[in-house]
């Protein structure tokens, strides 16, 4: 009997996967002519001719070179996907023409199969000294708040689901990706809907997907008293499944939404922000405050807090725990999808974005206090700030290291998190 039920949930899952196959059509990366680097050299708007550019492979072996033509164009075919170093020969530059940034004479670039990558060697006057540390810091703080708000929004569901059911949802990142990718299909790929409409549609679908997973898979399994570890494995399976289904249909490349891609920045003193990013920050703040008000005032919100605090007591006082968990799954998935649309709008959409964000979300919820919504908000903001502010001094490629380092430090000093209660760490 119970086997038949779980079989049914598995069948339902497969059906969803197959259905999504037909719904969204194929968007796999089409194989172009082959891997190549290309570009156009310009100085003051005029093409620059006769400049030599050479490419070496990972082991330093020469791959090819090219000399720019009369139109300033150059192109070097590559033997296959991989990482290459392209160098511009500054001796061949005409008199009086220099690289804008002498450190960018050699570019190291990874090429995926079948893609031609444009490379830019910027020529011109060296830029004036760049912003000072104070200005950089102000900008980093602004970016930190922006990403922090987004991480916080994504992480609320993760934290509440843990608080309610003790489940660490490894597939939570995929809900973020799902929101971003669906919005891209509605906006840029298939329907050309305005991003706001596309985003709302994507959030609705992602919320339904979250609710569907809880209703058709996790609830029946919970009834069978599976251990915490088995649930973790289920979510790992779901995460692998969802991530690679999205890879199959979306392809391995980064994409952007059509709307709000390029905007002039508004400047307020040391802060510069595009209207898009400003709107996203304002919307995120409004949504987070809305969630807080809902948890404090609404009947269901109070029920959520009651179940998170003590499921048995909540159930015995007449709260329908299953319904509360379902509400949290739908709302948590929808919030994650909103975060995904925002993140995709600020940066870009790709199939791994949610998985990369998952570790930052883990850091945020543990930092703030595992199992609480407010902890996720505080932790998310802190993680956003730490990652972005670290880029003022450290290389941006290791900014996630600082976030995860803060996580490890926090576990040493205050394992229950900023807003967590002592008893939770057991």
């Amino acid at each position: 009997m119970s086997n038949a039920r779980s079989l049914r949930s598995v069948v339902a899952l497969v059906a969803v996967a197959v259905l999504s196959l037909f719904l969204f059509g194929s968007a796999q990366a089409q194989d172009g002519e082959g891997e190549a680097f290309s570009g156009t050299l310009r100085f003051g708007g005029e093409p620059v001719e006769g400049v030599r550019i050479s490419v070496v492979g990972a082991n330093g072996e020469a791959v090819g070179e090219a000399v720019t033509g009369a139109d300033g164009r150059w192109r070097i075919e590559l033997p296959g996907p991989g990482t290459y170093r392209a160098t511009i020969d500054t001796d061949t530059l005409p008199e009086g023409v220099t690289l804008r940034d002498p450190e960018r004479q050699t570019l190291e670039v990874t090429v995926t199969a079948g893609r031609s990558r444009p490379l830019i060697f910027a020529l011109g006057e060296p830029v004036s000294r760049g912003p000072n540390v104070g200005e950089k810091l102000a900008q980093a703080v602004l970016n930190g708040v922006k990403f922090g708000l987004i991480i916080a929004m994504c992480a609320i569901g993760l934290s509440l689901i843990f608080g309610l059911t003790g489940l660490i949802n490894f597939a939570h990142g995929e809900l973020v990706t799902l929101g971003a990718i669906l919005a891209w299909y509605f906006n840029a790929d298939t329907f050309g809907a305005p991003l706001i409409l596309a985003g709302v549609l994507a959030v609705v679908v992602a919320g339904a997907a979250g609710g569907g997973v809880e209703f058709s898979l996790l609830r029946p399994l919970r009834a069978r008293r599976l251990g915490m570890f088995q649930f973790m494995v289920v979510t790992i399976g779901l995460s692998l499944l969802a991530r690679h289904v999205m890879l199959l249909f979306f392809g391995p490349d980064r994409e952007r939404y059509i709307d709000y891609a390029l905007q002039a920045e508004w400047t307020f003193g040391p802060f510069a922000v595009t209207p898009r990013d400003f709107t996203i920050m304002a919307l995120s703040a409004v949504i987070l405050i809305g969630v807080a008000v809902f948890l404090q005032r609404a009947r269901t919100g109070k029920a959520i807090r009651a179940v998170a605090d003590n499921p048995e007591l909540a159930e015995s006082s007449g709260i329908d725990v299953d319904r509360v968990v379902l509400v949290v799954w739908v709302a948590g998935a929808a919030l994650a999808a909103v975060g995904g649309v925002f993140f995709g709008s600020v940066e870009a959409v790709d199939w791994l974005m949610g998985f990369r964000l998952l570790l930052l979300m883990f850091a945020a919820v543990v930092l703030g206090g595992l199992g609480t919504a407010y902890g996720a908000m505080v932790g998310g903001l802190l993680i956003g700030l730490v990652t972005e502010v670290s880029t003022v001094w450290a290389s941006p490629e290791i900014k996630a290291v600082f976030a995860l380092g803060v996580l490890v430090l926090a576990l040493l000093v205050r394992p229950q998190g900023i807003l967590g209660q002592r008893e939770r760490i057991g």
């Binding site: 990482t83 003790g166 915490m228 399976g237 690679h244 996630a400 290291v401």
Partner: protein, 331 residues
């Protein structure tokens, strides 16, 4: 549709070096979780340290491979201590999150440009295993039938790797049957009870973490040897999940579970991929479907793996050889 090719490919992967590497990683995880109850989601970090430690000594510092391997394993011990001392006192879900984070921190640091001088950054390190292959006494040529065949060097790696698998399995079995193992298993089942007997449970868990981590490090060493190089893209968090999948498939807290699981995992994975490749080359599929399948076999096999993990947990959570009894313990 040539089933000889598909079966040959699957069998080659199921017995090949990759399967042995995952068997080692899963044996370490089995000691961690199956016996000691430690939810280690950062096993790939140990593999990475074993591999990179070896490669750095050889390729960066120009040292001997036989110094590099102990250095790599020593890094694993250090990592286990650095990871375990602060976090083993916490609940197991905190430990899980910390381990996955720590392994990813390591990977990001290793591939970052400031570390390029030592680790090769995004390029990795190459040509490290010459003195290992110098010991290869097998004649040149290919061994096997059809697609189920290995080059001389691959076979040499396999012989060494599978011997290590047997040795590590035996070591874990001996440890678990020793008084030490009884304490460790007792901690998994009821830590408070063991504490009340005056045992230092954190020390026991730390020892289990170190030993399982070093076995994971050995997996990394074999990986570095068989490719004669290292690259950070081989150590993404997924690898840990795959090792877990192999362990769960075979069965937790059993001696043969991790080994059989790893063999089955690679047999099925390569079998599915090979089947899809063959399928997409047949003329009788609709063009749109054939185009879709072309080059997608890797992603499809992981999709099926995800479905398989969910189904396994729903239908037979203890794995193939596991006992139902040991399910609810240790979490």
């Amino acid at each position: 549709m040539d089933f000889d090719i598909i079966f040959g490919n699957a069998a080659r992967a199921g017995l090949g070096p990759q399967a042995a590497i995952f068997a080692l990683a899963a044996i370490g995880l089995n000691l961690h979780f199956g016996y000691a109850g430690l939810l280690n989601f950062g096993q790939v970090g140990f593999m990475m340290l074993g591999a990179y430690g070896t490669a750095i000594v050889v390729a960066t510092w120009g040292g001997s491979l036989w110094l590099g391997i102990p250095f790599g394993l020593g890094l694993c011990v250090a990592f286990a201590l650095a990871l375990g001392i602060p976090t083993l006192r916490l609940r197991s879900d905190y430990f899980a999150i910390t381990t996955i984070a720590a392994a990813e921190i390591l990977r990001l640091l290793i591939r970052s440009s400031p570390a390029t001088d030592i680790t090769g950054g995004p390029f990795g390190l190459q040509a490290i295993a010459n003195s290992f292959f110098d010991l290869n006494f097998l004649p040149d040529g290919r061994f096997g039938w059809g697609t189920f065949s290995y080059s001389s060097n691959q076979l040499w790696v396999m012989i060494v790797a599978w011997i290590l698998v047997v040795l590590c399995s035996a070591l874990v079995l001996a440890l678990i049957r020793s008084p030490w193992g009884r304490v460790v298993r007792a901690i998994r089942e009821d830590e408070d009870a063991v504490l009340s007997l005056g045992k230092n449970t954190v020390a026991y868990k730390l020892q289990a973490l170190v030993i399982g981590g070093v076995i994971g490090g050995l997996a990394g060493v074999i990986d570095a040897l068989q490719q004669s190089g290292v690259g950070s893209e081989n150590f993404e968090p997924q690898v840990t999940f795959f090792a877990w999948a192999a362990l769960i498939l075979g069965g937790l807290a059993t001696t043969v579970g991790p080994v059989v699981g790893a063999v089955l995992f690679w047999f099925l994975r390569e079998g599915v991929e090979s089947f899809i490749r063959e399928l997409s080359e047949q003329g009788w599929l609709p063009n749109a479907l054939a185009d879709f399948l072309d080059g997608a076999e890797g992603a499809i096999s992981i999709v099926l793996m995800g479905i398989g993990l969910v189904a396994l947990m729903a239908l037979r959570p203890q794995g193939i050889f596991g006992r139902r009894r040991s399910l609810h313990l240790g979490t």
